[in-house]
Symmetry: C2
Subunit: 374 residues, 2 copies
């Protein structure tokens, strides 16, 4: 059966059926029992509650370990191919909650090599420069500077390479083809790259000389990499990493993933209030063609990009988000009101974020893994 | 037509037809005109004269550049999979002659990553340790410490990786398959590795900010790597490297390449006089089954491993090597005499070499590329 959507670490297209994707990838749902268990550690994060972080591998093992006094390390990352947009912040905000809730150390990997290899037009100088800008946004979210280290692949390659080599010796081209859909025209840098994304999962064990598993909260599009990581781990003497996966942050155009390639459907963390207003103003909604019709028939929050922005990031209160949905369906509010409200919320958030982003410049050097020079 | 020999960077088997290999690879012969030209720079090296270094790519361009006052850099290397044997020294001795004759700087690359990737049983700690031992032998040959830098891939990966990435973006799996004979069962480290072997060819240009070509004197089995290097060079803004290739140093068993895997047919630089005597004593020769028969029919220096050792390394005097061949063919000398003579020559060489090898420990740190710690 031909798929009507495609999700790989480098391409997300079509109308994603997240349940079907979970089946394809073989990940487990975060069901009510698991949600209940998670709520024991503190107030449940709205992204868990709403099924935004919806799927996992071996999360239970990590929690069991934690309950028994064992520690784990958080690992997530960013492929620095452009400016940071709101979609990038979403899983990072969740990571921050995990760090705060479990008091974990965190490794943040910036894959400047990957983006050079997979983006035809980017040079390494571009991706390294973007890594710096993206890191400022990451830091601005408030990660504990004492517990958080930022890896930049080309700068930390001295540590990463020997482990990447060990990974590479366990992965045939056959496997890489099956997992990533490569073919003979794929270049050899792309083929090798996945090894680098495995390494941070093994670094805590390598550094401590004892088995320290990692938990990786990230987009489910990254699962192919971590399937490889999990497959090779036992043979290399490392614990398998656990994953907790989120859905893709929507674009303002209504498409499934906010992409840096469509600038008008993407809100960057450095956008001005005026730009935000303009972009939200042009967003795809679930409204009707006329005010009269909408008052009568109501709108469809299910397909509305503005509503999704509230749902994914800007309205954490469940009662209020339900109220908004109700009002939309009944025709009590119009798209213009929602857009004004979202614009306001985004601009309030960005004003503070941009200040913190400036202050991040003072600590970014301290958070560089092994003290590399940015 | 099925080949009766196979030459790749990782496997040399069968009875090599060097002329045919040259045709297969598309390299050019070092003909009389080129020999004559080379003799202008100083006494012609016996390895050129005897056709041991017998094939090249763009050697003329390097000489033209030199004649016009331009400089080039020497680049050769070693895959540290075991102790150094006499076969490894042969091309290094030639490199030393080139350095002395043209006053060139030299880059010596130790591919500990390669040997880890291509030898099932070796770990990186093994190959790094062997790299140190091999480097001592290289230094013992007398390379100018001020003009010679030793690269160890895992230690210098910070400099090598960004350039390797650029190379990798220009090489598809299709190309790697065609050049190296890879297939779907090849692991992704092996597929990527060739990029690392390209890098030193581009380092002088990268370091100086102007086009500095390299000349690579090495075994012809390495040509597949350098075909890739030459193909990608123009697209990356680097000059194509030139190569000068030698035949494989023979084994004492009479096989085509001295291999570390057959310890008894291999003389290591650290062997004792007694061990050398024993190994040479067991060497394959072109002699007859009895003394009487040999006195009558004579021997065959063409197939004799002992004679080849004289020819390739231990008898530089053309008159004397011809005399030895004559005496063998006429039955005037017996295999025992040749073996005693070769044993003596090897042991005299090794006595001095082993002393220099010890002294190399005092300078090895100074020759480490970018000052890496061994």
């Amino acid at each position: 059966m031909a798929e009507d959507f495609k999700v790989t670490p480098w391409e997300v297209t079509g109308d994603i059926d997240y349940d079907r994707l979970q089946q394809q990838f073989g990940t487990a749902p975060i069901d009510d029992a698991l949600k209940q268990r998670l709520s024991r550690y503190g107030p449940l994060h709205f992204m868990i509650n709403r099924g935004i972080f919806y799927s996992h591998r071996d999360l239970v093992q990590i929690l069991d370990r934690y309950d028994n006094g064992g520690r784990f390390v958080l690992y997530t990352g960013r492929g620095p191919s452009g400016n940071t947009h709101l979609g990038h912040l979403m899983p990072w905000i969740f990571n921050k909650w995990v760090q705060d809730t479990f008091g974990t150390e965190m490794l943040f990997q910036m894959t400047d090599d990957e983006k050079f290899l997979f983006k035809e037009k980017l040079d390494l100088t571009d991706t390294s420069a973007m890594a710096y800008e993206n890191a400022l946004d990451f830091i601005a979210l408030g990660f504990d500077p004492k517990k958080t280290r930022i890896i930049l692949n080309t700068k930390n390659i001295d540590v990463l390479y020997p482990i990447a080599l060990r990974v590479s010796k366990k992965v045939t081209f056959s496997t890489a083809k099956a997992v990533f859909g490569f073919d003979d025209s794929t270049h050899i840098g792309q083929i090798f790259y996945t090894t680098l994304q495995s390494v941070p999962a093994f670094l805590p064990t390598e550094e401590c000389g004892e088995q320290i598993p990692v938990l990786i909260p990230c987009g489910i599009d990254q699962d192919p990499h971590f399937r490889v990581t999990r497959d090779v781990a036992p043979g290399l003497g490392y614990p398998k990493p656990s994953q907790i996966y989120c859905k893709m942050f929507p674009a303002l155009s209504g498409a499934d993933k906010m992409s840096s390639s469509d600038e008008n459907a993407t809100i960057y963390t450095t956008d001005s209030p005026k730009t935000v207003k303009k972009k939200v103003g042009r967003a795809f909604t679930g409204g009707c063609v006329s005010v009269e019709e909408q008052r009568q028939k109501g709108g469809s929050p299910e397909v509305c990009a503005v509503f999704k922005y509230f749902y994914y990031l800007f309205e954490k209160d469940d009662a209020r988000i339900n109220e908004t949905a109700e009002k939309c369906r009944s025709g009590a509010i119009l798209c213009g009101e929602c857009k004004a409200c979202l614009t306001e919320k985004i601009n309030v958030f960005l004003e503070t974020h941009q200040e913190k982003r400036e202050k991040a410049k003072d600590v970014i050097a301290d958070m560089a893994y092994n003290g590399f020079k940015w």
